[in-house]
């Protein structure tokens, strides 16, 4: 607990340094801190991908992570739900806590961690089965067998992702038949059916048309009251539109983080300014 309090302090300190104010309005108390990343470095083999990242994620906020390619945004995201474990080259130093518990502790039940921290990938990947089975996959592997309960969760997930009305009559059709935008919303529904606490989105709109993108962003706005949302995006306009707070990554370093409106209007770091005004990246 002591440790946790320290992290709160250092995080606010950092925010204060970068944007000049302590943002009490968005972050009412230390309790709302969902994830605390503390001097976290990630390596693939010898290569250092993330360099001593310090960042907190609060419940009820939408945090956008921006930065050019190869700046470690995706690696950061995948560190939060331990998806990097799949890569045998991966190693790390530092700490990430989720509700005060170290997620890299060896007693952590990784499948249940991944259920609580859901992830949507850049490209929609429907599993080769029906829409229903796709959305029911998470609840079903978690051990829910009751058909009625699964029906409820599937409906709930699809409704939250604004897809229910479009697919309610064809839940048993192959998910591959959906359009790209629908597939991505189905992937969102698939994660939401698990009712996670944190939602990680890795450039979820990179392959979508503007209308589908708008639908996803609408869904995110609707969802933010219940989840902490971390949105990695290459699109600075999207970050400005669809987030409360923005963090700028460059070459594996966190350059600055702060309220989106302030970061985009008066960034403190020259590199941030260059990036958001389109001088590089």
């Amino acid at each position: 607990m002591q440790n946790n309090a320290n992290n709160v302090h250092s995080d606010k300190q950092m925010l204060q340094n970068s944007s000049g104010i302590i943002e009490r309005d968005i972050f009412p108390s230390a309790d709302s801190q969902k994830i605390v990343v503390d001097k976290f470095s990630a390596y693939y083999g010898q290569k250092e991908i993330l360099k001593k990242i310090e960042l907190s994620i609060f419940s009820g906020e939408r945090l956008a992570i921006i930065g050019p390619a190869n700046s470690g945004k995706s690696t950061f995201l995948r560190s939060l739900n331990r998806l990097n474990d799949l890569n045998h080259q991966f190693s790390y130093t530092g700490r990430i806590t989720f509700d005060g518990k170290d997620i890299y502790d060896e007693n952590v039940d990784v499948p249940s961690l991944r259920r609580r921290i859901g992830m949507v990938y850049a490209l929609p990947v429907p599993l080769p089965c029906s829409i229903y089975d796709n959305v029911a996959y998470g609840p079903s592997v978690s051990g829910i067998k009751s058909r009625r309960r699964l029906d409820e969760l599937v409906e709930l997930g699809l409704k939250k992702a604004f897809l229910w009305d479009e697919v309610r009559d064809r839940l048993n059709q192959p998910a591959m038949n959906l359009s790209g935008g629908q597939q991505q919303r189905m992937c969102l529904a698939r994660v939401l059916a698990l009712d996670p606490e944190v939602l990680l989105l890795d450039e979820p709109c990179s392959g979508l048309d503007p209308i589908s993108t708008a639908k996803i962003e609408d869904a995110l706005l609707e969802l933010k009251s219940r989840y902490a949302i971390v949105l990695v995006t290459n699109n600075t306009k999207q970050a400005a539109r669809a987030s409360d707070r923005t963090a700028f990554f460059l070459m594996g370093q966190l350059i600055e983080a702060g309220r989106t409106d302030e970061l985009f209007t008066k960034p403190t770091d020259k590199r941030t300014e260059d990036y958001i005004t389109g001088h590089f990246g």
Partner: protein, 278 residues
């Protein structure tokens, strides 16, 4: 005379057509030749009766039963072992010395002539383990023989499953085994089935290995511990010892029909399965 690109294109197309036609012609010729000589003798009584006078008269029912017995047992043993080996190789170990050694072993096993498998089965199962000439000795020998086919085809099928499926499954909180059974095996099933069907075909048509292990008894097999003659071995003995060419061709016709049947049914099942999931 200069050959223009257009001419060479036409030439190549003609040659390719010719070669494909020759291949198809030879296949059809063999099947037709055997059917012409044998199909006339395939009657209900031929299928449903036991052989008399060493197969000069009567039918081949015990051989049909024996063949089904041996092939089914062999595949029932080889398929789970092969698929589980493949899952271990592809999902549960990292690429390294051990996996390449196992893969190398499987490849060597695939290249060994079937008579050697027969000899091994004879020495090991029939004599050392004391199983005698029996269906189970034959099935175990055939299982060893088709194992590499099953491993190789399943491996290709499992490797073709996109890595993204695995990430999605993990991301939704599955364990590794759930991921393997619900996503990987399901997507790879058509490919795995192809390997299994190929193995059934090889088991049904194998002669040398079963001759040395399952024996050549003519009576109806009652248990897997009895000796039985398979269809292909029956054909071989009838033809080799000049007992009855008519019945040899009839047996061969039936064998070819069975293999064609297995392949067609497997193809149809697979197409239905693929249509259902994609």
């Amino acid at each position: 005379m200069k050959i223009t690109p257009a001419t060479s294109q036409r030439l190549v197309v003609a040659v390719l057509w010719l070669i494909a036609a020759i291949t198809l012609f030879i296949l059809l010729f063999i099947i037709a030749y055997i059917f012409v000589h044998g199909l006339g003798n395939v009657t209900c009584s031929f299928i449903l009766e036991s052989p008399r006078r060493m197969g000069r008269q009567g039918g081949i029912l015990p051989m049909i039963v024996g063949t089904v017995y041996v092939a089914a047992l062999a595949v029932l043993i080889a398929a789970p072992v092969g698929v589980l080996t493949t899952i271990f190789l592809t999902e549960y170990t990292r690429e390294g010395k051990l996996t390449s050694f196992i893969r190398f072993g499987a490849d060597c096993l695939a290249g060994i002539p079937s008579i050697i498998f027969g000899l091994f089965g004879f020495v090991f199962f029939v004599i050392v383990l004391g199983m005698g000439f029996s269906i189970i000795s034959g099935a175990l020998t055939l299982a060893l023989m088709v194992l590499p086919t099953i491993i190789r085809t399943s491996e290709e099928a499992i490797r073709a499953v996109p890595q993204a499926y695995r990430e999605v499954s993990y991301g939704l909180g599955s364990t590794q085994w759930q991921m393997v059974t619900r996503v990987v095996l399901k997507s790879a099933l058509p490919g795995i089935c192809t390997g299994i069907v190929l193995s059934i075909g090889r088991c049904v048509s194998e002669t040398a290995a079963v001759m040395l292990t399952a024996g050549s008894a003519l009576r109806m097999p009652c248990s897997p511990f009895e000796s039985s003659r398979t269809l292909s071995l029956h054909f071989y003995i009838l033809a080799r010892e000049g007992i009855s060419m008519e019945n040899a061709y009839a047996t061969a016709s039936l064998l070819i029909l069975a293999i064609l049947g297995i392949n067609v049914i497997a193809y149809l099942l697979m197409r239905r399965f693929v249509a259902k999931v994609t």
